[in-house]
Symmetry: C2
Subunit: 293 residues, 2 copies
C-alpha cells in the first residue's frame, strides 16, 4: 500500500491538485500536519470535501507515533497532508525517508508553498538569500541568530524572507502544576511584533543592518482570497493591521527597477495607515504591546 505525502497549497480545500485529490480518495484515513503552517479553513471542511476522515497531528504525535503511522501504511493507503508543499520543511523529508527505509512505498504530491508565493509582492525569488525564522521573544529570552543572517543578505544585496513564529499546542504549565494536561491557545506572530523585535535587536546590536526607514513588504494570508500585501518602511508597516494569520515579511535588499515598479502597486496608502487594533480575544493576534505611532 502507499504512504501519500500530499501538499495542500495555501488557501482552502480546493488548492489540492487533481492528482492529490485522487490519492486522498484512495486513503483509508488522513493525517493533517498542524504545527508548521496553517490553512485558511477548518478541518471539517477538508474532511467533507475529501470524504475521508482526518486526524489532526501535532509535532509530538508525528514524532512519537510515526511507527504507528507507518504500520498502518502496510495494509492501507495512508495520506499525510501538509499545508503548502510537503518538502519545504526538513521534518517532512525526514518522515518520507524513514518510511522508505522501512520498505514502505511513498508518493509525494507537490504544491505551492509560502516560499514561492512570497514572489507575489514583486521581489524576485532569485534575489532572496537566507530565509530566517523570527521567534516570539518571551521575557528575557530574545534569541537573535536571524540578525547575522539578515546582515549577510543585506550586505550581498539580497532580500530576506522572514517567517514568523507559530506556537501551537504549547503546554499550559500553570494548569499542569495543578495536575491537568492543558494547552495554551495557538499564537501566531504578527508583522507588527516582528518589526518591533527586529528594531529591538538592531538597537542592542547596533550594526546598522536595519532601521525604521528600511523598506519591507508585509504579507498576510498569502495565496488566500483575503491576502494582503503592503510595501513600505518598517515604521509604516508596523502601524498597519494585517488581519488574521499567517503573516510573513520580506526585507528588501538592493531593488532592481523592475522590482521597484512592481512594488509600487503595493505601496502603503492612507487607507492602510490605521492604528493597529489588537483584539485581545482574537487568538489570531499575538499578545505583543501596541506599537508606538
Amino acid at each position: 500500500m502507499v504512504f501519500y505525502v500530499i501538499g495542500l497549497g495555501l488557501g482552502d480545500e480546493k488548492d489540492i491538485t487533481v492528482r492529490g485529490l485522487e490519492c486522498v480518495k484512495q486513503c483509508s484515513h488522513l493525517y493533517l500536519e498542524y504545527y508548521t503552517s496553517l490553512l485558511g479553513i477548518d478541518t471539517n471542511k477538508l474532511e467533507e470535501f475529501y470524504g475521508v476522515p482526518i486526524i489532526v497531528a501535532d509535532r509530538n504525535m508525528v514524532e512519537t507515533e510515526a511507527e504507528k503511522i507507518y504500520e498502518n501504511a502496510r495494509d492501507n493507503n495512508i495520506g499525510f497532508l501538509v499545508v503548502g508543499d510537503p518538502l519545504c520543511a526538513t521534518t517532512h523529508i525526514d518522515i518520507i525517508l524513514r518510511a522508505r527505509k522501512l520498505g514502505i512505498k511513498v508518493e509525494v504530491v507537490h504544491n505551492a508553498s509560502v516560499m514561492g508565493a512570497a514572489a507575489s509582492c514583486g521581489l524576485q525569488l532569485y534575489q532572496y538569500g537566507y530565509t530566517v525564522s523570527i521567534p516570539l521573544f518571551e521575557g528575557d529570552w530574545k534569541p537573535d541568530s536571524f540578525y547575522n543572517r539578515i546582515k549577510y543578505n543585506m550586505n550581498g544585496g539580497m532580500h530576506t524572507l522572514c517567517l514568523l513564529d507559530i506556537k501551537v499546542k504549547e503546554p499550559d504549565y500553570e494548569a499542569m502544576m495543578k495536575g491537568k494536561t492543558k494547552f495554551l491557545p495557538p499564537r501566531f506572530m504578527t508583522i507588527n511584533t516582528a518589526i518591533n523585535q527586529l528594531l529591538e535587536i538592531e538597537n542592542i546590536r547596533d550594526e546598522n543592518v536595519i532601521s525604521k526607514d528600511s523598506l519591507a513588504v508585509g504579507m498576510a494570508r498569502l495565496g488566500q482570497p483575503t491576502q494582503k500585501i503592503i510595501f513600505g518602511t518598517l515604521e509604516e508597516l508596523r502601524c498597519i493591521d494585517f488581519g488574521p494569520p499567517l503573516h510573513c515579511m520580506a526585507l528588501c535588499g538592493e531593488l532592481h527597477p523592475v522590482e521597484l515598479e512592481l512594488l509600487e502597486h503595493f505601496r502603503v496608502n492612507d487607507n492602510d495607515l490605521r492604528i493597529v487594533d489588537y483584539d485581545e480575544n482574537d487568538s489570531g493576534n499575538d499578545s505583543s504591546p501596541e506599537p508606538d505611532l
Copy 2:
C-alpha cells in the same frame, strides 16, 4: 470577465489544482506559456484533459500580443497557463499587473515550482542564497555573472540553486539568410554541460570558489514520475546521464548533519556512474562535447 493566471505544477495534466481546473473549464481559450519552463507531457494531452483549446505562446507572442490577450479578456474568461508557479518569474507578475492597470479582473492560482521542489534532495530551502541562471556558452560568449553570486553564497555557507539555460524558438539565421522564417529545435542545458562551464569559469577566474571535489546535487525532471536526484562531487556528477530535460543543480554550501543524512539517500553509486551517452538526435540534450572521464 476574468483573466486567470494558472500554475500547472511540474509534472503532467493532473498537477493542476482543483481550483485551477475549475477556472480552466470556464475559459473560452487558454494560452500556454512556453519559454521559461517545460512540462513533462504534450500540449494535446493538456487540451484533452481540460477540454479547452490551447494556444502555445512564446515570449515574443506574449510580449507583442499582450494587448490582444487582454482585449479578449474583456468579453471572455481567458486562461494563461504557466508551468510551475505563475509568480516565480517576474515576467508573469508584469503581465498580471499590466492587466490590472487596464481594469481587467485577474485571478492567480498558485502551484508547485522548481524552487520549492528543489528541497526534494534534502538541502533545506532556508539555506539557499541567490539563485543563479547558467547560460549556454556560445563560442567566445561566456558570461560569468553567476560566478560572483555563487562565491557570495559559498562564503556565507549558503547553497546555490543553479537553473540551466532553455533555448526555445531561436531563429535559424542560416535559413533566414535564404529568406525563410525558421526556428532551431529547442535546446536544454544538461547538468553535465553546466558543470563543465562552471569548472571552465573557475579555471579562468581562479578564485577558489568551486572545484572538481565540490559537493552538489543534480536534479532532473523534478516533480515528475521519472525524477532523478543524485548527490556527489562535481567530478562524479558530470559523468552521469540524467536523461531528458529539465535539469537543474544545487551547489552545496555548509551542510548541516541533518542535511548530510538526507543527502546520503541520493549518494551517487556504481549504477549511476555510466558514461554520458550524448544522442545527437535527441533534442533533449544540448550539443556540448563529451565530458572527460
